[in-house]
């Protein structure tokens, strides 16, 4: 089965446990992390992106989004889940 790749974007203030909380959730739902990056942006925001494959996920995308939002709230961070196609379209000619 072909991979179904999505980006998780986490934006906010850097703090302990961000990667742990999110990757633990993903592991439990059989979502594989393909790539992970983080950076402090020029405007001071901490940004982490995770490229994840949800083809074996035990829950549908809608539920993943909701769960991630919950985790985001508990850490006071913005968390977004978006299919990789939108980034390909917007940033590659």
């Amino acid at each position: 089965m072909e991979k179904e790749l999505l980006f998780i974007t986490v934006i906010g203030e850097d703090k302990k446990g961000i990667v742990a909380k999110i990757s633990n959730f993903l592991y439990k739902k059989d979502i594989n992390i393909e790539d992970i990056n983080q950076r402090i942006m020029g405007d001071g925001y901490f940004v982490m992106t995770m490229l994840v494959d949800i083809k074996n996920s035990t829950i549908p995308m809608e539920k993943i989004t909701r769960e991630l939002e919950k985790i985001g709230k508990s850490l006071e961070l913005r968390v977004q889940l978006q299919h990789e196609n939108i980034f390909k379209m917007m940033h590659r000619v």
Binding site: F7, T9, I11, D35, N37, Q38, R39, M41, Y45, V47, M48, T49, L51, M61, E62, T65, R78, Q80, L81, Q82, H83, E84, N85, I86, F87, K88, M89, M90, H91, R92
Partner: protein, 452 residues
């Protein structure tokens, strides 16, 4: 292919902090084959056609919102111009019943506006066209979601002044009949109206279109303002370049969502309308983009140049991003829906004359502005005719959405609420063009050579 953190962050910021959204997904539906000699059957056919398609649109749009994390602000329907399908049922009460049927179908399906209760009268008026104009005050005040348009001129036909001359009176009646004159906000008069425009109130499904098609309106004044803010010192060439790049990106997002939505609905994808469209949300203002260029308040001298630059850069970026650019594809500067425009009017920076000048370089005309309720109807006709002349002579679409508010004087404020915002009532030139307009007839189609 790897996408960098910066690129992911840029897209996420556009959506989270700069109000990037798919402004509208509009399903254009042909209703010609719904016509039946039995009016009851005809109405049922129309209701079923609109309702079933609208429900699917709402459902699939939700799925894509989730997939791409990008809000789809509005789901709408545009239909075959109603005067056309009502030719053989040309009775006032039936026109109103048809409007109520459309209103009900839209409401039941969860659609906020349905456009196309209008007519193409650039050359002349049929009996049905006249009747449609006659019933508009009732339709616009008694229905909630039905939007209306008239196309009263084109480069090929010229401008039908006889049709324009019917509008001042129609708008004043509509204003009287509806709360806060709100009915007038659902009517647009055009020249060179595009048949695939997805934006309300002027959307309709043109006679040159197929059975069904999906059109997308993408927007993001907030996104453009953010990049302009980051480039405060650069020259105009560079400014144009950075706007082009940004519009390219947001148009691509629109193209992606449009294509996937059309595929999910199993219908042809129509166009992406790249117009920058303001909303009442803070920071989602075209006027604020112009002000970020270095103009103190929109309306100041220099604003026309600024709007021209913005307009041209938006078109170039959008045209590179999609082979399906269509609709209006300009920059809207509606007064009541843009906090920067409202502020400029209230501070005396922007008047009706400068607003008209700005529309000469940007789509789509004089939009969502209020005038005192006691402005004579022939002056309303003259405001419309002036704006439309700009479109005819300059080979572009122009339009007017004017709201004469009963009992209000220049300087007062009218709150429409929701998407339609708040309109400061603008001052109108007190001198009259009555004797000129009463000549009637048609402004001949312009020459297309000798263009200086």
């Amino acid at each position: 292919m790897t996408i960098s953190v910066e690129e992911v962050y840029e897209t996420a910021s556009m959506i989270l902090y700069q109000n990037l959204d798919i402004r509208t997904t509009t399903l254009g539906i042909n209703l010609k084959d719904c016509i039946d000699s039995d009016f009851k059957v005809f109405k049922k056919n129309v209701y079923d056609r609109v309702y079933t398609n609208a429900v699917k649109l709402v459902e699939q749009a939700r799925v894509l919102e989730m997939k791409y994390g990008i809000p789809i602000a509005n789901k709408r329907i545009s239909i075959t111009p109603v005067s056309l399908i009502m030719e053989s049922h040309c009775v006032q009460s039936k026109f109103i019943e048809m409007a109520q049927t459309l209103d009900r179908a839209a409401a039941d399906a969860g659609i906020d506006f349905i456009g196309g209760f209008g007519a193409l009268v650039q050359k002349g008026l049929t009996k049905s066209d006249r009747m449609l104009i006659d019933v508009l005050p009732d339709v616009l005040s008694k229905t909630e979601r039905v939007c209306s348009f008239l196309n009263v001129g084109s480069n090929v036909a010229g401008l039908n002044l006889d049709a324009v001359n019917l509008l001042g009176s129609m708008l004043k009646q509509t204003a009287e009949k509806s709360n806060n004159a709100i009915g007038c906000a659902k009517f647009v008069v055009f020249v060179n109206a595009p048949e695939d425009n997805p934006f309300m109130a002027g959307a309709f499904h043109g006679v040159g279109e197929g059975d069904i098609t999906l059109n997308i309106g993408i927007s993001g004044p907030g996104v453009v303002k953010a990049v302009v803010d980051q480039n405060r010192e650069c020259d105009l060439t560079r400014l144009s370049e950075i706007i082009k790049r940004t519009v390219f990106k947001i148009t691509r997002a629109g193209e992606l969502v449009g294509r996937e939505l059309a595929a999910a609905l199993n219908i042809p994808f129509g166009i992406v309308d790249i117009s920058l469209a303001s909303t009442t949300a803070a920071g989602d203002s075209v006027a604020n983009v112009i002000e970020a260029f270095g103009i103190e308040k929109i309306g100041a001298h220099g604003s026309t140049l600024a709007v021209a630059l913005l307009m041209d850069a938006v078109k170039k970026g959008g045209a590179m991003a999609s082979g399906n650019v269509g609709g209006l594809s300009g920059t809207f500067i509606p007064v009541s829906e843009d906090e920067g425009m409202i502020d400029a009017v209230q501070k005396g920076a922007l008047g009706l004359d400068k607003l008209e000048a700005l529309t000469a370089v940007c789509s789509v005309g004089l939009d969502m502005f209020a005038i005192p309720g006691d402005v004579p109807e022939e002056t309303i006709n003259a405001i419309i005719a002036d704006e439309l002349a700009i479109g005819i002579i300059n080979n572009k679409t122009t339009a007017v959405r004017v709201i004469p508010v009963p009992g209000k004087k220049a300087g007062s404020l009218v709150k429409f609420g929701g998407l339609l915002g708040t309109a400061p009532v603008m001052e109108v030139n007190p001198f009259s063009a009555k004797n000129f307009l009463k000549r009637g007839g048609r402004l001949p189609a312009p020459v297309t050579s000798m263009r200086n």
